[in-house]
Amino acid sequence: MALLEVKDLQVRVEEREILHGLTLTVNEGQIHAIMGPNGSGKSTLSHVIAGKPGYEVTGGQILFKGEDLLEMAPEERAARGVFLAFQYPVEIPGVTTMNFLRTALNAQRKARGESELMVPDFLKKVREVSKSLNIPQDMLKRGVNVGFSGGEKKRNEVLQMALFEPSLCILDEMDSGLDIDALRIAADGVNALHSPKRAMVVITHYQRLLNYIVPDVVHVMSKGRVVKSGGKELALELEASGYTQFEDAA
């Protein structure tokens, strides 16, 4: 069943059109990879799906579980199950990671009409998840991402993904700034979260990440459109021959 349907999406940033009619369908349980050179509109797509301010949608639509996503506030999208793992997670000094996780989780639960999670249940859940991701407890007591290494920041994103249990996870350049060990830990975390109901959209420049997170479908983006889609072998083909062959296709 289709979880996310992007239809003929056109997006502008300050008068400049970035996406010129992008179409993409992601089904439940699938892993999609979106690849493409810098400036092809990959991050714009992820931002528009998550509802980042500053983008103007001039045409097309995005359906999430059959509903119009563009009509929802970003926090509502989060509560309905859209999760964006940031390329550069922000630092929030003075707010402990633990406090942040609890506030966010309860805000989402409240928006869904669920009861707030009590502290002991919450702590139990966080401990389980952080253990599986190899996240030390003292990291949770520090300010959100403050002084975290690149690997720690990404693991913190995966931790939130695990806690919030979204149905659509968009990973924006998860591999940037990670060494190979950190990448493997983060990717293992992501793989553990893969389930028949949960879809993943992995945005990346390089094929490297796809050795760890194996996609069902690979899309190539160029100049604001999807120019080619195929199986996981498409990523290997790209790695060998580069993006230039697609630039004309756009």
Partner: protein, 498 residues
């Protein structure tokens, strides 16, 4: 619309009009005639049944005041105050002398109930969850000396404090009952000639709190005063005097609210603290007076002189303030570090929204040897407000080994507000070590988007970021107050975001 733009839009619609504490109590009051003269001073002194020396003290201050002019150096802008157009004394008319809480006008008690102040002893404030290793805060008590307009209507917990030898009473009573202490200490930290507003206060102060903690005594509870300005056009002139004798400790909490008014109300308080050898005073303030409406009309003018004297060796005075209200704030709680090895601290959160103007900071005056001080100031400006930190750190020639650390951080919400830092640093000997750090930042759109992507609303996101920003200072507040302050911060920033 970008988040910051939205924030700015919301600030324009700021709902300070819905000031939570805007209600008025209808009770008959006993007022001095309008205006200021020797007669007004005599009227107040007489109302208080004061001894002759006190009247003399007031009159001297009044005569001095006539020769002084209002200070203009602060970064605040307001129409000239007509000091002859104010009432200088307003007391709820008592039917008879009050001996217990039951005899207090129920209207007054109701006002306090609306404010959520537990005047009745049964409603002792109880703390939040105890941290491991700490004593059960449910047993911690707070004695409340409530000042309704100008008269302390009730003092609770008096008996228990008496057992410990602590004197905690309205200063008007202390003048009569403990004249030797009052005469010795009143004006010894803030002299009657100190500054325009302090001198005015000395002439016409109506009431306030008096605390004396005897040698070696650790005050068994937090002491608390709630001020409330009720009467129209009444200047409120509180006078507080706290003395911690050798080796003693006291923590004092001051909270303030005022009902909504169209006219600006003047408030000029004086607080004096004296810490003798090895004594420690912790003074915490949460101020949420009416800040004026969305057009900047009305609101309290707050011109306060607060100063602590670390008179003894190894003494310590710590000021913590959370300032969210008032149209104009002019306030510099300071420490005179006279005793050797004495320590002064100033922790401040100043939030301004709407058209509020804040000019606040501290003075750390190092006189003794190896004295140290610490200043942590967090200013948050939203709306069209102006928020200034003004601080002085100075080491006297003989203050060898003086040390200071200052950190001033400002956070801006929107682009119509201003944050300013005006530090003065003077070292008159070469062994002083002064450090100063200052930052100014805006709440970035990226941070807000990160939070909303995780399910928080814009408003919750700003609240979270701001509470993180002020965390170092909130931690300095007594637990009960910290919870209140945290709520207050969210209330003051309501409507400042989209």
């Amino acid at each position: 619309m970008p988040a910051v733009q939205e924030t700015v839009e919301r600030v324009k619609r700021i709902d300070v009009d819905q000031y939570r504490y805007g209600f008025e109590t209808l009770i008959e009051s006993d007022k001095a005639p309008k205006g200021l003269s020797e007669e007004t001073v005599k009227f107040i002194s007489e109302k208080k049944n004061e001894p002759a020396w006190m009247l003399q003290w007031r009159l001297e201050a009044y005569r001095r005041w006539l020769t002084m002019t209002e200070p203009t150096w602060a970064r605040v802008d307001y129409p000239k105050i007509d000091f002859q157009d104010l009432y200088y004394y307003s007391a709820p008319k008592p039917k008879k002398t009050i001996t217990s809480l039951d005899e207090i006008d129920p209207e007054i008690l109701k006002t306090y109930e609306k404010l959520g102040i537990p005047l009745r002893e049964v409603a002792m404030l109880e703390g939040v969850e105890p941290k491991v290793g700490e004593e059960d805060p449910a047993r911690r008590k707070i004695a409340v000396d409530a000042v309704f307009d100008s008269v302390s209507v009730a003092t609770t917990f008096k008996a228990e404090l008496k057992k410990a030898g602590v004197i905690f009473m309205p200063i008007s009573e202390a003048i009569r009952e403990h004249p030797e202490l009052v005469q010795k200490y009143l004006g010894s930290v803030v002299p009657t000639s100190d500054n325009f507003y302090a001198t005015l206060n000395s002439a016409v102060f109506s009431d306030g709190s008096f605390v004396y903690v005897p040698p070696g005594v650790r005050c068994p509870m937090e002491l608390s005063t709630y001020f409330r300005i009720n009467e129209r056009n009444t200047g409120q002139f509180e006078r507080t005097l706290i003395i911690a004798d050798k080796g003693s400790y006291v923590s004092y909490l001051e909270g303030c609210t005022a009902p909504q008014r169209d006219e600006n109300q003047l408030h000029a308080a004086v607080v004096e603290l004296v810490a003798h050898d090895d004594a420690e005073i912790k003074y915490s303030t949460v101020q949420n007076w009416y800040p004026g409406n969305s057009e900047g009309k009305g609101g309290i003018y707050n011109f306060v002189t607060k100063r602590g004297d670390c008179r003894g060796n190894h003494s310590k005075i710590s000021w913590t303030q959370v300032e969210t209200g008032s149209a104009i704030t002019w306030k510099y709680p300071s420490c005179i570090l006279r005793g050797d090895n004495s320590r002064g601290e100033f922790y401040s959160i100043a939030i301004s929204n709407g058209y509020q103007q804040v000019d606040s900071g501290t003075k750390m005056i190092h006189l003794g040897k190896n004295t140290s001080s610490r200043i942590i100031s967090k200013g948050i400006a939203a709306g069209k407000s102006q928020n200034t930190y003004r601080g002085l750190v100075t080491a006297h020639r003989k203050a060898t080994g003086a040390r200071n650390f200052t950190a001033c951080d400002s956070l801006l919400i929107g682009d119509k507000c201003g944050a300013h830092t005006v530090p003065y640093i003077e070292a008159k000997n070469s062994s002083a070590t002064f450090e100063h750090e200052a930052t100014t930042s805006k709440i970035s759109e990226d941070v807000l988007f990160y939070c909303v992507q995780r399910g928080l609303s814009q408003e919750e996101a700003v609240g979270l970021v701001v509470n993180g920003f002020v965390k170092d200072v909130l931690q300095q507040l007594p637990m009960e107050f910290a919870v209140e302050a945290q709520k207050l911060i969210s209330i003051s920033l309501e409507g400042s975001v989209g």
